[in-house]
């Protein structure tokens, strides 16, 4: 039964992808991309990857759709017909290339272990140690969180820095420096009374849920990455319904930028603190008297740093895009 659902979801993914190739209306393409993200999230649930599904549902179906839509409103909704004279549109050539590459890759899969095999190299190398010893060494139930924040804390630090850098990059590229006096912008959703009231009810719940995901990440699916994205989405909702000017009052530009840096700083300081106490960088055993307690502290603060950075960078990205869009003309 499970493999039946499995095959259906995979077929739906392929169908959606083919539809994305065919459709010329970029608005519809964006919606299809959101569906694609949601489908892959359901697939991840089926594969026992609840943490990943969580993230993909928030990012793939939510934030990425929103960002692409904001960009579309600046660049135009329709793709130009491809076969205008003088274009170097060669679908046959591209198709041949793609088919050839795909065939080679499929040939390559012949050497891979079959799906679900317990003796595949992926399952036998370092993972048994994580699964067997983390209960004694770290003592939190969610192995994903302990691997993320403790065993591979170094990697995660790198990822957080990448996210931070991307945020800076977006700011550098499209931040509107000219502080044009805001022309008494009417929030585009002002007449949607029902929408505004329901959102007012929901926004606090979303924020609390974000905090729950942040601090319950050691015991169930969750953690800084998911929590940051969920937390940021509450601010997106507010900005979309009440207008950017109102949202700017809640979320001060300078503060969010400082917070984004603060998250990375918090992560790094935990590592440095371990060094000061005589351990290696990010070796949480040295943070407190006994090892397990130190690990708990380390993971808590590191996840907090991740959450702060992810939430702030997402808010920065969305607000920068929307401000740019307002500056470019239509306030809707």
């Amino acid at each position: 039964m499970e493999s039946f659902i499995h095959v259906i979801i995979l077929s739906m993914l392929v169908t959606t992808a083919i539809a994305i190739v065919k459709v010329k209306d970029l608005f519809a393409v964006t919606m299809l991309a959101g569906i694609y993200g949601l489908l892959s999230a359901s697939f991840f649930v089926l594969m026992d990857a609840h943490d990943v599904a969580f993230t993909e549902a928030a990012v793939g179906a939510g934030i990425s759709t929103l960002l692409i839509l904001t960009t579309l409103s600046m660049t135009g909704r329709f793709e130009k017909a491809a076969d205008t004279p003088g274009s170097n549109y060669k679908p046959a050539l591209a198709l041949a290339l793609v088919t050839l590459t795909g065939a080679l890759l499929i040939y390559g899969t012949q050497d891979m272990p079959v799906f679900g095999a317990a003796d595949a190299p992926v399952q036998t190398h370092v993972v048994p140690r994580y699964l067997n010893d983390s209960a004694a060494e770290i003592d939190i139930p969610n192995v994903v969180a302990s691997v993320l924040a403790s065993y591979r804390g170094y990697d995660t630090f790198g990822e957080v820095v990448v996210i931070f850098t991307a945020g800076i990059g977006v700011l550098a590229l499209i931040m509107s420096t000219a502080s044009k006096a805001p022309v008494a912008l009417r929030a585009s959703m002002e007449e949607h009374v029902v929408l505004r009231i329901v959102s007012k009810m929901l926004i606090p719940l979303i924020l609390i849920f974000g905090l729950y995901v942040q601090f319950h990440g050691e015991y169930g699916p969750g953690g800084g990455f998911q929590a940051g994205v969920i937390f940021a989405s509450a601010f997106f909702l507010y900005a979309m319904l009440f207008g950017l000017t109102a949202a700017r009052k809640v979320v001060n530009n300078t503060w969010v930028q400082a917070l984004a840096a603060l998250g990375v700083l918090l992560y790094g300081s935990v590592g440095l603190l371990a060094m000061i106490n005589g351990g290696n960088f990010l070796d949480y055993n040295f943070l407190a008297q006994d090892d397990v307690h130190g690990q708990h502290m380390g993971i808590l603060f590191v996840e907090l740093g991740v959450g702060i950075t992810v939430a702030s960078v997402m808010i920065i990205i969305f607000f920068t895009f929307s401000t740019r869009r307002q500056r470019d003309g239509d306030p809707d």
Partner: protein, 117 residues
């Protein structure tokens, strides 16, 4: 007692599943945007709600029950709101629902494909 909850649970689950299917059929076959959106909102709200109620009957602990209940509240809040916002946006941008004309027949001059998003 446990027999009763099992039956109730399965009744809700089957009803939810049926509503999902009928909602999807409606989404594909209804003539204009507003009726199609109605079908979609039924799937959104009632079908999901019934499935959640069915699962709540089977919840092993109260905490699972509570979580499912909160999801139900969330779905009941967001589903109709999303439907309302969509319909309102469609009306504002000039899409008129298909209504029976004077002869009692549905006027077919409106192009049904314009409503699709």
């Amino acid at each position: 007692m446990s027999m009763l909850t099992t039956y109730l649970s399965w009744a809700s689950l089957v009803l939810g599943g049926f509503l999902c299917v009928s909602g999807s059929v409606g989404l594909l076959r209804f003539p204009d945007f507003f009726t199609r959106m109605h079908a979609a909102s039924v799937t959104d709200t009632l079908a999901t709600g019934m499935i959640l109620v069915g699962l709540m009957f089977q919840a092993p602990t109260w905490i699972v029950f509570g979580k499912l209940f909160m999801i139900l509240v969330f779905v009941l809040l967001t589903g109709p709101t999303a439907g309302h916002a969509l319909a309102k946006a469609a009306l504002h941008s000039g899409l008129k629902p298909l209504l029976p004309g004077k002869s009692g027949k549905i006027e077919t001059d409106a192009n049904p494909s314009t409503g699709g998003v």
